[in-house]
Structure formats: C-alpha cells, structure tokens
Symmetry: C2
Subunit: 102 residues, 2 copies
DNA sequence: TTGATAGGCAAGTGAGCAGTTGCCTATACT
DNA sequence: AGTATAGGCAACTGCTCACTTGCCTATCAA
C-alpha cells in the first residue's frame, strides 16, 4: 500500500508538481516527452535521469502509473491518492472564509 | 500571499502532519499542550524548540493561525490552503476506480 | 549487423532541513 | 522584589534529497 509519507514527499518538490501539471494536460507521455516539456515550457534545465528519478518517486506515491509498449514507456496520471488529503483534514466549504470555533 | 511551495513543504514532514491531526482534534492549543500530546499520544521525543519551529513552518504555509493572550499563544488550524491541491489536480469521483483515457 | 533511439542502474556531490543546545524576553503568581 | 511559567532567537550538526556523470540494456530501422 502507498503510505502517506510517499505521497507528501512526492508532492514536496516543485519539479514533480510541474510534471503532474503536464500529465494533467496530456496523460500518457514518455520520459523524453516530459523532458522536452520541462525544458521548453518551464525552462527547467534538468537531465533525463533527473526527470526519471522524479517519475520514480511519483510512481512510488501512486500518483503516476506506467505501461510499457515496445521501447516506449508511457506515464499516466492518477490523482486518486490525493483524496486522502481531504479525508484526513476536512476542508471548509469553498467560496467562504472560515471562522475559528473557540 | 502563501505560495504552493510553502504549503507542500509544510505537509512534507510527518511530525507536522501529526500536529495538524492534533489541531484538528482540538483547535487553539498552546505550544506546551502540543508538545505534551506529541510526547504522550505519539511517543515523539522532540524538544519544545523543535515543535516551535514546526509550528512556524505550518504558519508560513497558512495552515496554522495564532493568537496571543497574555503569556499564552494559541494555535488554530486552518485547512483552507489545502483547497488549492484539489483545484490544481482534479480528483476523480470517490468510491470508484479510475480509468485511463487513451 | 550496425547504428540510433528509449530507458535503466549506481555512485558521487552539494544544499537544504529537522533537530538540538544555550541563552534571552515577557507575563503571571506569591 | 523574586520566582516560575510560556515562548523566542541563533548557531551548530547530521542526514536526507535533488541532480549529475558514466556506463549498461533493450527495441527498432537501415
């Protein structure tokens, strides 16, 4: 099972959060595709291995799932683990500031 | 404004998440009260200053708000910043596994 | 089969962070 | 006044983590 520690550790890095953003925009990207986007759209000068390690962390957290086809490995987003955050700490209703309850 | 970086960094530490749990159970605790709970309920051998620094990080993330009364400083939970997580990466409906969309 | 593409493994390095220790300030109680 | 309580500030340390470099494996095209 994916523990909370893996989840929050995965979300702690800004580069990994951008990767999640890119996978939200287009799921099923390869490692090189993600590398290109980080470099082009976000001016992130990071090596391929660096991105690969980030993807491994995201996969350990259950936020990314992979499938292999030939020499390609596609990366799919899975936001389901994020649900436990809202379950752990109840979030007040949107569009309304919260009041303290003394 | 509280940036995403502060929020996720605050959530990255397990001790800080436990502090959020304790403030969820009882909001408006003092530093010493929180120290006691970490020690008693969670067997966390951490110094008062250690807890104080954790609270500072949580406050920087907007997850904890404080109010002073005399020599006491009360800490209140504020889960509102957590909302931006669900807003950033749409979470699929509960009680149903997700499908990939190829 | 040779070369090119897509990805993986492992060791090393530098920086950031959790935690401690020591000392200081402010409010309350007697 | 004096003392105990509640909290703050700053420097130091050890460890984790992001990132790199170097080399290796696997699939596909010529």
């Amino acid at each position: 099972m994916v523990v909370a520690d893996d989840l929050f550790k995965a979300l702690a890095d800004p580069t990994r959060r951008i990767i999640l953003d890119e996978l939200t925009e287009k799921s099923g990207q390869t490692l090189f595709e993600i590398c290109s986007r980080l470099s082009m759209k976000h001016q992130l000068g990071i090596s391929r291995q660096g991105v690969s390690q980030h993807l491994a962390v995201l996969e350990a957290a259950g936020l990314v799932e992979t499938r292999r086809e030939g020499r390609y490995k596609f990366h799919d987003l899975n936001t389901a683990p994020l649900r436990q955050i809202a379950e752990r700490w109840p979030v007040p209703d949107t569009s309304r500031p919260q009041e303290s309850t003394p």
